[in-house]
């Protein structure tokens, strides 16, 4: 399943078979069987001219076999006749239907993400369980419950239209952004899948904004860690290693997109960084203004910390420290908040206090890479 062609085909096949049979497990099994058959035969017989079509036909034949064998009950016979005049044309629509059904707000958020991973992208249940830090049997139960609810409560297999689309889109975008950030934290394939799926959605402003945001964040993937696996901060990343084609595409998308929600604001923030030739020439006042706007519509400790940092560069470290002090209680025990305070304190001319703050930040860091980076900062300043 690591080949993009299989991941792409898997979601398409599952989506079409669900539309035709209404049977989620049958659809997943047949799609997986088709991929396995391809992995066995293509190296031997050569890759077919139309790999996607080959996989779809193999999966459909497999589904017909299974339905035929399943005792030919009335309902199944109807499914069989549907499968035989399977039209490959509306595959894109089927995948959209599948995404909107998996991300239906009547399902719990965690179920939406798990179901999207399993059904749209074809990630194994064991792998999803690992991502969610739960046991495989717990994840199997969660996925079965979600599928049972879809069928029992009759969640429709449909892309909403009219005002319903605007209502349902945020849930889809939230799931895709969560997939993206999981990918960002070390599963680059997931990040790419999230971008690919977002591109399938209707071109609403917030959809374009999410695509732009993901492209911008993903453009830095090659420079975020050094050889030792330690985090490299934005300031020290080698900007020639950024994906400038992705940045150009994102900036183009943003230019034609009105700012209607949090993804657009975050994308503009990311674009401010991505288009600066170097850290020092970042347009900090513009960045600070975007953070002010984000803090109004989508307040969170992370946003407040980044807002303080941006103001610190735009208007001096004292301005940043003042903003941090104002949200002190909300960000207590949060490593990036302590790191930001350390950074601003250092720039305000107090390296000893800054080193102590970096050490405190390292104590509450949530990942080893982050902890190492913070300890390095505290040590570096002691030596100088």
């Amino acid at each position: 399943m690591n080949e993009p062609i299989f991941r792409e085909a898997y979601g398409r096949i599952v989506a079409t078979l669900i539309r035709l049979t209404g049977d989620w497990s049958l659809a997943e099994d047949c799609a997986m069987d088709a991929v396995e058959a391809a992995l066995e035969r293509w190296p031997r017989d050569g890759t077919p001219a139309n790999p996607g079509g080959w996989l779809m036909t193999a999966a459909r034949n497999r589904a017909i076999d299974q339905l035929r064998r399943a005792a030919l009950a009335d309902r199944k016979l109807r499914d069989l006749s549907l499968l035989q005049d399977l039209e490959p044309a509306p595959a894109g629509d089927d995948r959209l239907r599948l995404i909107f059904t998996c991300c239906h707000p009547a399902l719990a958020m965690e179920s939406r993400v798990a179901l999207t991973l399993r059904t749209v992208i074809g990630v194994s249940t064991a792998e999803i369980a690992r991502l969610f830090l739960v046991g495989e049997s717990a994840m199997t139960r969660r996925l079965s419950r979600a599928k049972a609810k879809i069928s029992q409560a009759r969640i429709p297999y449909r892309v909403p239209s009219g005002p319903a689309l605007a209502e349902r889109l945020p849930s889809v975008l939230a799931v895709l952004y969560l997939l993206f950030t999981r990918g960002y934290d070390g599963e680059p394939e997931l990040a790419e899948e999230a971008i690919r799926l977002a591109r399938l959605l209707p071109p609403e402003p917030e959809v374009n904004a999410l695509v732009a945001l993901c492209l911008l964040q993903h453009s830095r993937r090659a420079t975020r860690q050094d050889e030792a696996g330690d985090l490299v901060t934005l300031e020290h990343q080698d900007r020639s290693g950024w994906d400038h084609a992705a940045i150009a595409e994102a900036v183009g998308l943003l230019a034609g997109t009105p700012v209607t929600g949090p993804y657009a604001i975050q994308a503009h923030i990311a674009a401010c960084h991505a288009t600066a030739p170097d850290f020092a020439s970042t347009d900090w006042p513009t960045l600070a203004a975007w953070y002010d706007q984000l803090a109004r519509v989508h307040p969170s400790p992370v946003v407040e910390v980044n807002r303080a940092v941006a103001h610190g560069y735009a208007y001096g470290p004292a301005a940043g420290l003042e903003l941090l002090a104002a949200v002190q209680d909300a960000v207590a025990g949060y490593a990036p908040a302590l790191a930001a305070r350390a950074e601003l304190t250092e720039r305000a001319g107090d390296p000893a206090a800054a080193a102590g703050l970096f050490r405190q930040a390292a104590e509450v860091a949530t990942s080893d890479a982050e902890r190492r980076a913070l300890l390095k900062r505290s040590g570096a300043m002691h030596m100088s």
Partner: protein, 108 residues
């Protein structure tokens, strides 16, 4: 597809905006066939809970669960799918002043 809509109170009702009109809701959904049956229920203090254990009838004064949110009514809806049922439910004043729960009928 039939859905039972339990109509409940809620400790955090909508207080700013005005809820839709119940008479309009009933008239509309009776006319379009989406409301099969429904009614208000009297206070749970008038409820009687019935159990049979070891063949013996056991009666309890009051509801089977003591909760802050109580069921004050029900409607049986006939809808094409959950999205349609949600549209009907959101227009009921008690989804503003309280909460409503949609439960599909078994084997529909």
């Amino acid at each position: 597809m039939k859905y039972m809509m339990f109509v409940c109170t809620d400790t955090e009702p909508e207080t700013e905006l005005e809820a839709p009109d119940i008479h309009k809701w009933v008239a509309e959904n009776d006319a379009n066939g989406r409301r099969v049956l429904g009614n208000q229920l009297v206070s749970p203090s008038a409820a009687t809970t019935v159990r049979v254990r070891g063949g013996e009838l056991l009666l309890t004064d009051g509801p089977f669960a003591e909760t802050k949110e109580v069921i004050v009514g029900f409607d049986i809806l006939e809808c094409a799918d959950l999205d349609e049922a949600i549209e009907v439910a959101r227009a009921h004043p008690m989804s503003w002043a309280g909460r409503v729960e949609l439960r599909p009928f078994h084997g529909e």
